[in-house]
Amino acid sequence: MNSMDGVLDRALASVQDKVQSRVPVDRQVKAAHLMEKAKRLAGMSKPLVFTEAPIPDPADVPLTQIDVSNPFMNRQGQWYPYFARLRDEAPVHYLAQSPFGPFWSITRYDDIRAVDTNPDVFSAEPYIVLGPPPLDIEMFIAMDPPKHDVQRKAVQGVVAPKNLKEMESLIRERVQDVLDNLPTDQPFDWVERVSKEITGRMLATLLDFPYDQRHKLTYWSDTISGTAEGTGGTTHQDDFYEATGELARSFMALWHDKAARREAGEAPGFDLITLMQTSDDTKDLISRPLEFLGNLTLLIVGGNDTTRNSMSGGVLALNQHPEQFEKLKADPSLISNMVSEIIRWQTPLAYMRRVAKKDVHFGGQFIRKGDQVVMWYASGNRDERQFENPDAFIIDRPNARNHISFGFGVHRCMGNRLAEMQLRILWEELLQRFDKIEVIGEPGYVQSNFVKGYETMMVQLTPKSSD
């Protein structure tokens, strides 16, 4: 970094501090974008670009050079063999150089749980993916207690089990509508027609976002979580800022609209914005723009990729393990346990990042204050020390619920019950309708080291015979 760059960064940081409470959030996004663009044009910042190359087998790479942050690992089917080697030979592994700087990889189940439950040593601040987000948006997934607890408690009611019970029939109707409109005479893209559609509808419902514009939520989420700098993805920086700005403008408008409607006497709904506006801790959130933006982004991203890719992953898993689909059809009461097994097998978010707050001895290694520590959930869920025959998909696996995909400790997934419910309803409704759900060809995999997901997956449905 040259000195001019440092000056600009300091100027930006100081401006952001001062304006945080006074300048509307969309204008702040725009200002940050202009600053970034200026730096790029002046040659002071170079966007990170990843080019796919064949990844060698893990046995052919020196242990010290193993880089599981390569965003093509999943697409090339190499993540699991690499993780298996790390778990056996270097369960707390240090990589000195990567596009995201040096980092530790934690790959065994027990070790991940130990890091996750120790926020005093391993901080979630300031961000939980490998690289920094372009904007300093503040979200509680990347805050330590006690600030985290206050913010999370303010919004978690919307996905609390009590609220979900009320919403179950609405969710079921929307799932039924999606499934009843699927073609059965030709293959179609399951990701687009089912996984994205159902999660998009759900998000629009939770946020009370205009239903006919729900596809925007999916677009914003994918764009924001897919920066090359953050997760090795494909989002261009200009698109990041545009999506963030658009999200900010839309939700500011929604916020003010809802406030006005309530003031005019409309009964408060049980949606997320209303909850924020009626909780003492968050009712002024709009005047803390970066926090406002951060928490909305978190809820949109958190409820999007995760459930979506589990909806696709379940279909793929049952295709790779057809005897399990027969078992399921013979005993649909296995759906609940299968949902946990899908979430374990898929692990839709591959990791969470922490930063050591102090020097610490861990797993025979010496982790220094400030080091990045990556908890690879995708590896913990395939740890043979925890799960017997871990790569197999077994819908009645006795300890499927012990999967690590939701994380453990204070940051444990807030939407876990909503996710489970959506998946359970999907499979209940699928079994009512279809005899066969066949994946045609290979699915397309997302380029990312964070989102373990599918871009496309062609599927041919066979309706249940009407005997």
């Binding site: 749980r113 408690k153 009611g157 089990p161 009590k162 300890n399 012990n402 939701f406 453990f408 019950r417």
Partner: protein, 106 residues
């Protein structure tokens, strides 16, 4: 035989055999008592084995630790006598112990 009793949210009671040295969570999941998940395997890290200890037993079981508090604090059903069942190790002196379950686990 010594027993412990789990009272479901709807008032249904479930009796389980007291197994000395096991945690209440292990007793519940091992004997198929509904309403206790224990997703993290007993590390006070998931909040899915929340129980509320009967007043007359709280001095015997003790109150929740700071680690339990961190998880239970996020439940809207947390009460004064709330504990994580995985952190209550059962001894012979707990014959007749009674705990209630919340409506939902986290």
């Amino acid at each position: 035989m010594a027993t412990v009793t789990f009272v479901a949210y709807d008032g249904t009671t479930h009796e389980a055999d007291l197994v000395e040295g096991e945690s209440l969570m292990e007793i519940a999941t091992g004997q198929a008592i509904p309403g206790i998940d224990g997703d993290c395997g007993g590390e006070a890290a998931c909040g899915t084995c929340h129980v509320i200890v009967d007043n007359e037993w709280i001095s015997t079981t003790g109150r929740r630790t700071d680690q339990e508090e961190q998880m239970l604090d996020m439940s809207s059903e947390c009460e004064e006598n709330s504990r994580l069942a995985c952190q209550v190790v059962v001894s012979d002196g707990m014959d007749g112990l009674k705990v209630r379950l919340p409506e939902f686990q986290m």
